[in-house]
């Protein structure tokens, strides 16, 4: 028997991975903009703040102009104003470019918003390396971990527009501080409208559960989910059966669901558009330690300077793309690396 408690709640049933050809890329911003405006229609206490970047807030601002404030290019002040509004009884959504929200305003995020547990959701556009060729100033491969280490803060990393729309509503209505990493460009569509998401019970995708030991498990979130599904589809004909645990809520880390999913796996591979040290690699290893035995591999961004490449190229460069996942599944512990 495993040493951990298995939740009575069933894991979402495995679904066949969507084939690559049907994954039409879509940008998250128009969908989230409408979701925010709808939240504003219902929740009259909701205020939206931006820092000279209004794409996410345009619809909200048109419908609720008195509850939209653009503070200008001033992220530290942005967070402080959000804190004051929240202390004054408002629910607040802060929109901006992830690197500047997360790094430049880290102190305000931590002390003014997260420590007191205020009702503020930060929507960080272009987390990870989402801004691609814009370069190092615009990459933030530490956003999820930075926010996960802030007190009482829920962190979401959705994979596509449906996942993102769920994550934003969950973040805003869930109470307390939250961060959602959103895509800056178009993301492949992974899910359909009927998909039901859960913070504690991430989706298990890929091959059906064989019930037998020896299946591999890929743990991932956000923009690497599509590549993980492609990889699982590619290794199937080679005799490797694998499932994908696709997280949307990465913090609090869904430990029980991971342990359930990994119970019969002999191989666990984590894949993330993030540094492993404060990301899925570390969280997965911490959760498995003492409860699981097998081959483990963490695919993550490292600290080599990013070459001038788009996001797809950067995934290839950092070896977090589907080809790298295929290699890891076929040989999780290569001696040459």
């Amino acid at each position: 028997m495993p040493e951990y408690a298995i939740s009575a709640e069933p894991i979402a049933p495995p679904r066949a991975p969507t084939s690559t050809s049907t994954r039409m890329p879509r940008g998250m911003r128009p969908v989230i903009a409408e979701a925010l405006a709808e939240l504003g229609d219902i929740h009259h206490e909701l205020v939206v703040l931006a820092a000279d970047g209004r794409a996410l807030a345009l619809a909200f601002a048109e419908r609720h102009p008195d509850r939209f404030i653009d503070v200008g290019i001033a992220e530290a002040n942005l967070m402080g104003v959000a804190a004051g509004l929240a202390r004054g009884g408002h629910r607040v959504v802060v929109c901006g470019m992830a690197p500047f929200l997360v790094r430049r305003a880290a102190e305000q995020l931590r002390l003014d918003l997260c420590r007191p547990g205020l009702d503020v959701t930060v929507l960080g556009v272009g987390g990870g390396v989402g801004y691609g060729t814009l370069g190092a100033t615009h990459h933030v491969p530490e956003d999820l971990g930075t926010l996960a280490q802030m007190p009482g803060t829920r962190v979401f990393c959705p994979a596509d527009v449906h996942d993102a729309a769920w994550a934003v509503r969950e973040a805003v209505l869930g109470g307390g501080p939250a961060y959602v990493r959103l895509g800056a460009r178009e993301d492949p569509q992974v899910y359909d409208l009927e998909t039901r998401f859960s913070a504690q019970r991430p989706l298990l995708l890929g091959d059906p559960d064989t019930g037998a030991p020896g299946q591999a498990l890929v743990v991932t979130a956000g923009a690497t989910v599509a590549g993980a599904l492609d990889a699982v589809a590619a290794v199937g004909p080679l005799g490797v059966s694998a499932r994908v645990l696709a997280l949307t809520a990465v913090s609090p880390f869904p430990r029980a669901a991971l342990l359930d999913a990994a119970a019969r796996a002999d191989t666990v591979v984590t894949v993330e558009e993030h540094y492993a040290a404060a990301g899925l690699g570390a969280q997965t290893a911490l959760s498995l330690a003492g409860h699981w035995r097998g081959r483990f591999r963490a695919l993550a961004i490292d600290d080599r300077p990013a070459p001038v490449l788009d996001r797809t190229g950067l995934f290839r460069f950092y070896r977090i793309d589907s080809a790298a996942i295929v290699s890891a599944l076929l040989d999780p512990n290569p001696l040459t690396e």
């Binding site: 205020v47 008195d66 509850r67 404030i69 503070v71 200008g72 001033a74 530290a76 002040n77 967070m79 402080g80 104003v81 959000a82 804190a83 004051g84 509004l85 929240a86 202390r87 004054g88 009884g89 408002h90 102190e107 305000q108 002390l111 003014d112 420590r115 007191p116």
Partner: protein, 275 residues
Amino acid sequence: MDTAVAIRGQARTDADTARAARRRILGFAAEQTVHLGSSLSVVDLLVAVLREAATGPAGTGDPNRERVLLSKGHAVWALYAVLAELGRLDPERLGPLAGHPADQVPGVDAATGALGHGLSIGAGLAEATRLRGRDERTFVVLGDGELNEGSVWEAVMFAAHRRLGRLVALVDRNGMQQEGATADVLDLSPLAAKWRSFGWRVREVDGHDHAALREVVRATADPADRPVVLLARTVKGKGVPFMEHSAAWHTGRLDRAQLDAALAVLGQDRTVARA
């Protein structure tokens, strides 16, 4: 309860309250290391603003109360002392006293301590007040050394642009910061012109003149469409001559002899704020 405000049936003046608060600060410094100089300089300003703030301290649950944020959180000892003298806080019941304002302490509207945060939070509170259609003021007390922080000027620009006429900034202009004179570390002058050029109304006041402070703080209730800053000229270490204008007493802990010496001379100073 306002028993601390009346002594033997006689109305207590702001000067009485301030003197008693300074005695408390020195008492705190006998128990632990405290930020002495800046706590002593800001006492009179806090007496004026906490008396003025209309609807009671944080923790009363009244969403429409006027808010007071001590953005120069290291001067929390003055906040504890003045709140105690006004009968709004019993320091004995707080347990160990934190070196910066923490949430859940009566009288604290936002935890502070990292400099350059308070004015932004105050601006957000002022926005919330306006969205509620109310006109309560939000007071934010800043240090002049704190004005080194760029985030303060983000908030200054923002508040003027948003015409937050119910936002009141009060600067404890003691002319000193940790390592010496503000003029030597990072010169702020011409300070009034800076605020004015950013779109604020500026009032300059002697930060130890209780009558002048009351008047200028009370005048902030007048309707306005722009925020106002009170630049209060003060003396770091005010009230204890051997601590005044001295960076050496930025922080300190007093032994028995030092405490006795400070209490003996408290209020006997004749120093005035430097222009």
